[in-house]
């Protein structure tokens, strides 16, 4: 439907004004400072320094790879969990308890959680003790300070986002489609693959994009769990802002990450969306 201009203006004025004042304007400041040299002249040197250096591309690759894997694992873990909650759990009290269990971990502080991870996944942690006790491994397996560790930590805090979005999408699917598929002689597993999954895709893509974006920009979790041995892009940015104090370079790093992520997310959204508003 084409919009009556006044309605549109009424609806969009407050949110856009707010964003202009408290997001766009500060970000313009950042963007400007990214093209200013120390002496105040305009320069593209910061960007050249980033984009012409293989190292930054390596870090970007690590960052996006971790984010992508995080997204993937979140989907693999979150989808069954959402399915379980929406389709399998019949007892409302238990479903609600599960929702609480899923949400509550988000409230814990990263730092305390990282202690939890050390207790669980550390060199002498419960998991390694268990594995060694069972004779599955001789030396403790390293989880912390590896990409695996970062993945475990990121998946942990991002899985709830998938469960909530995918769960909402699942709950909205008309079961008639699944019945139609069953009626056509297709068993549950393939009905899931050919009907349910494609139908939840918009919700899942939305959740995946959220997870991907959050994983790309996450700082505290990767910083704590990398043990300083893996660098993701947000750490480079944080470094510039908090210990090197090169705000111009830091700004250029930020804008680079923002733009690249937005491009990726937009492309993914195009693929997943498909549905246009009425």
């Amino acid at each position: 439907m084409t919009a009556p201009r006044t309605t549109l203006a009424l609806l969009l004025f407050a949110p856009l004004a707010f964003f202009a004042a408290f997001f766009v304007a500060p970000m313009v400041v950042v963007a400007l400072s990214s093209i200013i040299a120390d002496d105040g002249a305009l320069t593209t040197a910061h960007y050249a320094r980033i984009l012409l250096d293989q190292y930054h591309w390596d870090v970007l690759w690590v960052t996006f790879r971790i984010a992508l894997l995080t997204t993937l694992i979140c989907m693999l873990v979150g989808f069954p969990l959402a399915w379980y909650l929406v389709r399998i759990v019949r007892w409302r009290a238990w479903r609600r308890a599960c929702v609480i269990l899923i949400i509550v971990p988000l409230f814990t502080s990263n730092i305390v959680r990282s202690f939890g991870w050390m207790v669980l996944l550390g060199r002498t942690g419960l998991v390694n003790q268990g594995l060694m006790g069972l004779g599955l491994t001789e030396r403790p397996i390293r989880f912390l300070g590896t990409e695996t560790g970062i993945l475990i930590g990121l998946v942990y805090i991002l899985v709830p986002f998938v469960v909530l979005t995918v769960g909402n999408a699942l709950a909205k699917i008309d079961t008639a489609y699944e019945e139609a598929s069953a009626d056509l002689g297709v068993g549950p597993a393939r009905t899931f693959w050919f009907v349910t999954l494609p139908l939840t895709l918009p919700g899942a893509v939305s959740g995946a994009i959220m997870v991907f974006a959050l994983a790309v920009s996450a700082y505290v979790t990767p910083a704590l769990l990398s043990g300083g041995q893996i660098t993701v892009f947000s750490m480079l940015i944080f470094q510039q802002y908090s210990s090197v104090f090169d705000f111009h370079y830091g700004a250029a790093l930020s804008i680079t990450l923002l733009v690249l992520t937005l491009i990726l997310v937009t492309v993914a959204g195009r693929i997943g969306e498909g549905r246009k508003p009425a």
């Binding site: 019945e179 139609a180 069953a182 009626d183 056509l184 002689g185 009905t191 050919f194 494609p198 498909g274």
Partner: protein
């Protein structure tokens, strides 16, 4: 001969509401069965039990003698055309139709060829590439039909497949459906709430009411010899004329005073509006007559119905064409009815 489908005393209850009550039904191969009944009588529920989406609380369902009561839907040799179509919105029309064969292991080309064939059968061969939402309601319904018949099931369940179509298209689809059914030899169970549709299409009609089967019979049986007042009223417009006991072994029509052999439990007899005539001059000997006053004239297409008050009773008299509109409310007329056409209603 073993029936294709046997339903044996199936009951289904929803939270305190008895949706199906000991339903028994047997259907032969290639039959066209219409399931007729008022809204909420359990038609969809029965269909869903047959298709396997609901498990009956009691009773058994057999296909060719094999008990499938507990079998999941995807193990049953039947297909459904859903009331809401339930076309997969993310697949093209052709993919929707090819879905069944593909999942059954048919190769891509072969499945597409069969889909094209099925689409041709419903007159949509050119729409294969479109998405379902780009079709009109009637076209969507035909796609649902194509999708259900492409697998050549033994039994096809159709839940009000024509209810969203306009009359013209519905008539065309009725004829096409009947042709398809005859050509493929598939048995159809066709839910409808339109008794004309049921009569035009079905070999046998099953009339349901409040979770029970009231009558099963050919269209003519159901129309001419309804087993209950409910069926008489549900299938067309009946004249229900009260009777009273007369001399031993006989009962008398309240309106004309004509007499009939006595039958236990009969409080009224039925005559269809087309069985009644207006009499000019002396009536033939086999007609019982009664004087009356025209109350209302309703002309609907080919048939004009006169509502004629004869004492306490208003009789409906059907006449062909609109010529009857020459009669006006208030005219005095004589209604004649052939006693042999009367059907006693047992209560």
């Amino acid at each position: 001969m073993q029936p294709l489908l046997s339903i044996e005393s199936v009951s289904k209850r929803f939270a305190g509401h008895q949706a199906l009550h000991e339903v028994d039904l047997a259907i032969g191969g290639g039959e066209f069965i219409a399931l007729l009944g008022p809204s909420g009588c359990g038609k969809t529920t029965l269909l869903r039990c047959i298709a396997g989406f609901l498990k009956p609380d009691d009773g058994r369902i057999l296909i060719e003698g094999a008990d499938i009561t507990g079998a999941p839907p995807y193990r049953r040799p039947l297909n459904t055309v859903f009331q809401s179509y339930a076309l997969f919105p993310h697949m093209s029309v052709a993919d929707n139709v090819a879905y069944g064969p593909r999942r059954a292991g048919t190769g891509r080309t072969e499945a597409q060829a069969r889909a094209r064939e099925a689409l041709a059968l419903v007159g949509l061969e050119e729409m294969g590439e479109r998405l379902p939402r780009a079709l009109s309601g009637g076209q969507q319904q035909r796609v649902a039909l194509a999708r259900a018949i492409v697998n050549r099931p033994k039994l096809l369940l159709l839940d009000e497949p024509l209810s969203a179509l306009d009359l013209k298209l519905r008539r065309r689809m009725q004829i096409e459906l009947k042709h398809i059914q005859e050509k493929l030899g598939i048995a159809f169970i066709f839910v409808t709430h339109d008794q004309e549709e049921a009569m035009a299409m079905a070999n046998r009609i099953v009339v349901m009411n409040a979770g029970r089967i009231e009558q099963v019979g050919t269209p003519a049986d159901i129309y001419r010899a309804p087993a209950s007042r409910f069926v008489a009223e549900f299938v067309g417009e009946p004249n229900l004329i009260p009777v009273e006991p007369a001399r031993p072994g006989r009962m008398r029509l309240k309106v004309t005073g004509a007499e009939l052999p006595y039958a236990e439990g009969v409080r009224c007899v039925m005559a269809r509006p087309e069985d009644l005539v207006l009499v000019d001059g002396t009536p033939p000997a086999d007609l019982a007559t009664a004087p009356g006053i025209v109350e209302e004239v309703v002309a609907v297409g080919p048939v004009t119905t006169l509502f004629i008050r004869c004492g306490d009773v208003v009789l409906k008299v059907a006449r062909l064409g609109m010529s009857a509109t020459a009669l006006h409310p208030g005219s005095a007329v004589t209604v004649g009815l052939r006693v042999s056409a009367l059907h006693p209603i047992v209560e």
